[in-house]
Symmetry: C3
Subunit: 484 residues, 3 copies
C-alpha cells in the first residue's frame, strides 16, 4: 500500500507539472496583455495621469468575481460547510488550473486576433465564470473523485462550457448576464451527468443521512458563507453587464429576491423538518438558489415586488425539491448529488430561464413600452411616466438588455423563443458533455484503486455503515488521499 | 410538549407567511424603482454608455452598509461571539423582514410621491440603518424572546425608529450622519426598555458571569468581528453623508479614534481585571463604542489629535461603565442586558451626542471661522489658513456639515441647542417605544411557555446556577427553540 | 509570583499609557489634516458637490491596504493559523501603536511643511505599509517577546523602516511600488536579526516539529487566510502606484504568478513530504511568497507567461528553502524563525529584487523599446506594435515605472544598478537595525523573567520536550502572559 500511494502521489505531482508546463508554453506562444486596454489609452502627448473610466471600474468587478468564485462557490459554500478545510486544498488546485485553462480556451474562441490572445481584466472575469461552472460540477461528485480526476474534469468541462457559452451568448444572442444558464444550469447538470456515469450500484445506500449529521463547525461555515453571499453576490450577478446603467436594477432585484427567499425558508422549514428554525445550511441553500435564478432575470425585472415574488417562490420550491425530488433522483436515476447542486444551482437555473422567457415577453408588453427607442420620446402612458425623465430611460433599458430587439433586427417573440430554446440546448450540452467526461474519468481509474477512492474524505462526510471502515485518523480527515 | 412545540413551530411559519404576503402586497401597491435614479439619467440621444458619477459611487457604499448590518451588528459581533452560530438564523430572519418593512415605512415618511414609493440604492442604505437599530435592540433581549417575538419587535421598532429619524433629521435638522443618536442610542435604550418590561424578578441572579466564562471559539469570532469593524466601519459612519467632500475626514477621524481606543483598552484592562492582556471581546467592545460615538462627531472633528483624545476617553469610559455601571443597572433597575449593548452602543452614543454638541459650538469659534461662507474668502486668521486654499475649504465644510448655519438661517448656538436637545428626545422616544413594545411582546407570551423561553440558548450563554437546568443537549446549543 | 505578575501587568498598562499620551501630544503639536487634499479642492463659488477623482479612488485603496495589514499579515496569516486567537490581541496592540507612530515618523521625513505634518488618506496607507513590516518582524520572534517588548520593537523598527524607505525610494529612486524590499525583505531580516540576538543556546532544540503538529483549527485559519490573500493582495501590491494606468498589469501579473505558484506547491509537496496533497498552510506560504516577490516585479512584467514562470519558480524555491535552508539557519546561525518569515517574506523578497533588476535591464531591450518616450511614436518594431495604439502605451509605461529613465536623466543600466544595489543596502540596514533592536530588548528583560517568558503561549505552539513544562491551563492558551 505505501508504494502504491507513493506512486499515486508522484502521479498527481507529475500531472500537475505537465499541465503547468503546458499552460506556460501555451501562454508564451499565444497570450499577451491587451496593449490598449490595460495600460489605458495613452494619448501621444504623454498625458498619462488620466485614468479611463472603463478601467477604473473594472478593478472592483474583477475583485467581486473572484470573491464569488473563491469564497462562495469553491471554498466556503460548497466545500467548507460540508467537508471541512481538507477538501479546500484540492478545490484551490482546480481553481488555479481552471482559470489558466479557461483563459486559453476562451481566448481561442473569442479573443484570437493577429495570432495572439489579448488579455485584460475582463478576460479574467470570464475565466472566473467558467471556473465557477467547474466548481459547481465538482460539488456533485466531491468525495468520489481524486484531485487528478478533478483536473481532468476541469480540462474537459472548461472546453465544453466555453463552447456552450459561445453558442448561447455569441451565436444566439441570449440575454444571460448573470449566467443562470451557462454557469449554474450547465455546471449542475454536467456534474450530475458525471456523477451518473461514475456511480457504483453497491455503494449507493449510504448517502441518505449526509445532509443532517453535521456538527457545529458546519454551521459556522454556513453562517459565514451565507453572509458572503448576501454581501457580494448581488454584484456578481451584474458583473458582466457591459452596460452600467441597467446594472443597478440587477443588484436591487437580486437583493429583494434574496430577502423574500430567506423568509420563505423560515416558512417551509418547520413544515418539512422537525426543527423550529431552519439550519443555516438551509438558509444558505435558499440564498444560492436565488442567485442561480436571478442570474438571467435580475436585469429584466422592472418592479421590486416582482423580485419579491420570484424570490419567495424559489425559496419555497428549492427546499421542496430537496425534500422530495432529490431522493427520487437518487433512487430512480441512480444519481448521487454530494453537495446538493441540483437544488441550489440546477433547478433554480431552469426556473430562472423560464422566468427570463416570461419577462422577455412581458417586458415590451407593458413595462418597457411597445415603441422602438427612437420614438420612445413621444409616448408617456406607462406607469413610470409620471416621474421625471422616464421615457428615455425605458428606451435605454430595452436597448441595454435586449440590444437586438431595440435595434429592430429581432422581434420580441423571437427573442423570447431564443431565451426559451437556450434552456433545452444547455441541458443537452451539459448531459452529453458530462456523460462523455464521466466516461473519460472512468477509464482513468485503475480497477484496484476504485474502492480506496470511495473512502477518501469519508470520515468527514458520513457515518460509515459497514463497520469495515475504521474511524479515520486525523490525517485522512484533513487531506484528500490522492489516488489518480 | 411535542404537540405544543409543533403548534408553535407552525405559528412561526404562519407568522412569516402572513408578514411576507403583506410585504409583497404593499410592495405591489406602492413600491416602484426610481426611474431617474437607478438606470441613470439617459439623455434622449440614447447615449447610454456614460454612467453618472452618483450611481457609480452608490454601489460600494451600499455594499459597505450591508457588510456592517449583516456582519458586524447582526451576526459576527453581537451574536456569533456570544451565542454561537445557532442564533444567527433568527437574526437573519429579523434582518430579512426588517429591511422590507423599513423600506415601506421610510417610503411612507419620505419618498411618497404621486402615490408611489420610488426606490433606489440609497433607500436600501436607509433601510439598513433602521435594521441596524433593530439588531442592536435585539442584542439586549437575546435569549429571552422567540423568533416570533423578534419579528414583532422589528415590526414596531422600525416604525418608531423611522419616526424618531424623521423628527430628528427631517424636522430638527440635527447633524447626525453616522447615526449616533438615531441608530445607536435609540436602538440600545429601546432594547433596554423592552428588557426592563420583559424581566422576571426571580431569574435575575444568574447573569453575573455571563461575560467571563467563554471558550476559545468566542475569541475566534471576536477576532474576526474586530477585524471587520476596523476595516469596514470607518466607511459605515460616513455612508450617508450626501456631501462627498466632508466624508474623508469622517473616515480618518473614525480611524484615529479607533486606534486610540484600542490602546486605552490595554491600559485599563489590567487594572480592572486579573488578566494581563485584554480579551478580544473587550477590544471588540471598545471598537464598537468608538463607532457609536464617532457617528455624529466623525465629520465634525477637524484635527487628528481631537479624534485621538475622543477615542482615548471613550476607550477608558466604556470598560469602566461595563465594570461598575452595568451591575448597578442590573441590581437597581432590574434591566438585563444580554449582549452589553448599553456599554457598546447606548453610553457611547450619548457621549457622541455630547461631543457633537461641544464640537458644534467649537466649530465656528476657531476651526471653521465665524464668517459666513460667502465672506469666508477674506479671513485668514485660522490655524489652517497657512496652507494653500484653506479658506474656501473651511467655508465648504461648514456648509456641508451644518447647511442651515452656513446659509445663515440658523445661528451656531441654535444649532448646538438642537444637537443637545436631540439627545433627551431620543432617550424619551426610545424609552417610551421600548416600554410599549415590551408590553405588546408580554401579551403575546403564553404564560405556560415563559419558563421554557428563558432556557433557550441557555447552555451556550451561561453556567446554570440552580442546578435544575440540565446541561442542554447539542440541539439546544445550536438552534433557538421556538416558542412564539 | 502573583505580585510579580501584577507588577508586570501594571508596567504594560503604564507603558501603553505613556506611549499613547506621547502620541496625542505629538499629534496635537504637529499633525493636521491636509486642507487641500481631504475635503477636496473647493472652488470659491461654493460648488462643493463635485468630488475630485483622486479622492474618489483613494478610499478603496485605503481599505485594501488595511485589509492586508490587519487580516493577512497581522492576524489571520501569521498569527491565527499558528498561535490561535490569543496572540491576536497583542498584534492588534502593536498595529494600533505602530500606525500612529509611523504616521508621525513618516511625517517628519516626508510631510513636514510649515512646521506641520499634513495628513490625508495616502499617509495612512504609507503608515500601514510600515506597520506591515513590523508585523512581519514580530512573526520571527513571536512567542518569545512580551507585548511590552513588542511595543519597543515597533517603536524602533518604524523609525528604521522609514529611514530605509526614505533612502531607497526617496534618494535612490528605486522602483519598488509593492514594497518587496522595504517591507518584506526589510521586515523579515530585521526580525531574524532580533531573533538572533534574543536566542538562548539551551532552548533551541525544541523548535523542530513546530510546523507539523497542528490541529484542524490551524487549517481553517489557513484556508481563510489563503482566500483573503488571493482576493485582496493583487490590489495591495499596486496600492501605492501613483500612476493608475500601469496598475492594471501589476494586478494581473500578481494574479497569474499566484496561480502558477499554487500549482507548483502541488508538484513539490508530494516529493518533499509524505502527504499526497499539500496542507493549506503550505499553499498559504506559497501565496505569501508570491506576494513578496511580485511587490517589485509586478508592474515591470510585460507578458502573462513571464508572470506564470516567475510564480512557478518561487512556488518551487520557497518550499525547498523551508525544507532545507531553515534547519540550516537554525543549526548554523542559531536563528529561530517562529512563523517562518524567512521563507515567506525574506527569500522571496530577495528573489523579487533580483527579478526586478533583470526586468529593469530587459524592459528597455525589447519590451519597452530603446527610444525615449518623446520619439516613441516613430518606432514600431516591438512585438506588441501590431496592435492598435501600442507605441504611446509603451512609452507611457516606461515613464510610469521608471520616470527617471523616461525623462532621460538616468540610463537603463544605471537604473538596474540602483535596483540591484538597493538589495544589499536593505539587508545591511535590516541586519544592523535588528541587532540594535534586539540588544535594546535584551536590556529590558529582567533576568528572573526570562524563563517564564519562553513559556508563554507554549502550550499552543509546541509539544514540550523536557516534561518540566506542564500542559498549560486554559488561560495561558488564550492570552500571552505579560512580562515586560
Amino acid at each position: 500500500m505505501p508504494e502504491h500511494t507513493a506512486a499515486s502521489r508522484l502521479r498527481l505531482s507529475g500531472l500537475c507539472f505537465l499541465l503547468q508546463i503546458l499552460n506556460i508554453l501555451l501562454f508564451a506562444a499565444f497570450v499577451r496583455y491587451s496593449p490598449g486596454g490595460s495600460p489605458g489609452p495613452c494619448p501621444p502627448q504623454l498625458n498619462c495621469s488620466r485614468r479611463s473610466p472603463a478601467s477604473a471600474f473594472q478593478q472592483p468587478r474583477f475583485q467581486d468575481a473572484h470573491i464569488q468564485v473563491l469564497l462562495s462557490f469553491g471554498l466556503l459554500v460548497a466545500f467548507l460547510s460540508r467537508y471541512g478545510p481538507g477538501s479546500a486544498a484540492s478545490s484551490i488546485l482546480v481553481t488555479a488550473f481552471a482559470i489558466q485553462w479557461a483563459l486559453l480556451i476562451q481566448g481561442f474562441f473569442y479573443f484570437f486576433l493577429n495570432g495572439k490572445i489579448y488579455v485584460e481584466a475582463q478576460s479574467l472575469v470570464s475565466a472566473d465564470f467558467c471556473t465557477a461552472a467547474v466548481l459547481i460540477s465538482s460539488g456533485a461528485v466531491l468525495g468520489r473523485v481524486s484531485p487528478g480526476q478533478m483536473l481532468l474534469l476541469a480540462l474537459l468541462e472548461v472546453s465544453l462550457c466555453t463552447l456552450s457559452e459561445y453558442i448561447l451568448l455569441g451565436l444566439m444572442a441570449v440575454s444571460d448576464s448573470g449566467r443562470s444558464l451557462t454557469v449554474h444550469t450547465f455546471g449542475a447538470y454536467f456534474g450530475l451527468a458525471v456523477s451518473r456515469v461514475l456511480q457504483q450500484p453497491h455503494k449507493d445506500k449510504r448517502k441518505r443521512e449526509e445532509q443532517r449529521d453535521k456538527g457545529q463547525q458546519t454551521d459556522v461555515f454556513a453562517v459565514v458563507g451565507t453572509i458572503y453571499l448576501w454581501i457580494f453576490w448581488p454584484s456578481f450577478t451584474s458583473s458582466t453587464t457591459a452596460h452600467h446603467n441597467a446594472e443597478n436594477w440587477a443588484v436591487l432585484n437580486t437583493y429583494f429576491s434574496l430577502v423574500a427567499s430567506t423568509v420563505a425558508t423560515f416558512i417551509l422549514s418547520p413544515l418539512l423538518y422537525e426543527e423550529s428554525t431552519p439550519r443555516m445550511v438551509q438558509i444558505q441553500d435558499a440564498t444560492l438558489a436565488v442567485m442561480a435564478m436571478m442570474g438571467m432575470a435580475g436585469e429584466m425585472l422592472a418592479t421590486p415586488f416582482g423580485a419579491l415574488i420570484a424570490g419567495f417562490l424559489v425559496g419555497l420550491i428549492s427546499p421542496l425539491g430537496s425534500r422530495f425530488f432529490t431522493p427520487l433522483l437518487h433512487s430512480r436515476l441512480k444519481i448521487q448529488d454530494t453537495c446538493g447542486v441540483h437544488n441550489t444551482h440546477g433547478l433554480p437555473g431552469v426556473l430562472g430561464a423560464l422566468l427570463g422567457t416570461l419577462l422577455t415577453l412581458l417586458a415590451t408588453a407593458d413595462t418597457y413600452g411597445y415603441s422602438s427607442p427612437l420614438e420612445g420620446i413621444t409616448q408617456s402612458q406607462e406607469p413610470v411616466a409620471s416621474s421625471p425623465k422616464p421615457v428615455p430611460s425605458v428606451a435605454c433599458r430595452l436597448e441595454l438588455v435586449f440590444p437586438l430587439v431595440a435595434q429592430g433586427s429581432r422581434t420580441v417573440p423571437e427573442q423570447a423563443l431564443m431565451q426559451l430554446g437556450a434552456l433545452p440546448l444547455t441541458l443537452l450540452l451539459a448531459a452529453l458533455g458530462g456523460s462523455l467526461t464521466g466516461a473519460v474519468l472512468k477509464i482513468r481509474v485503475p480497477r484496484c484503486c476504485r474502492d480506496a477512492q470511495y473512502k477518501e474524505n469519508a470520515a468527514f462526510r458520513e457515518v460509515p455503515e459497514e463497520g469495515s471502515e475504521p474511524s479515520a485518523n486525523g490525517k485522512e480527515e484533513l487531506g484528500i488521499s490522492t489516488l489518480v
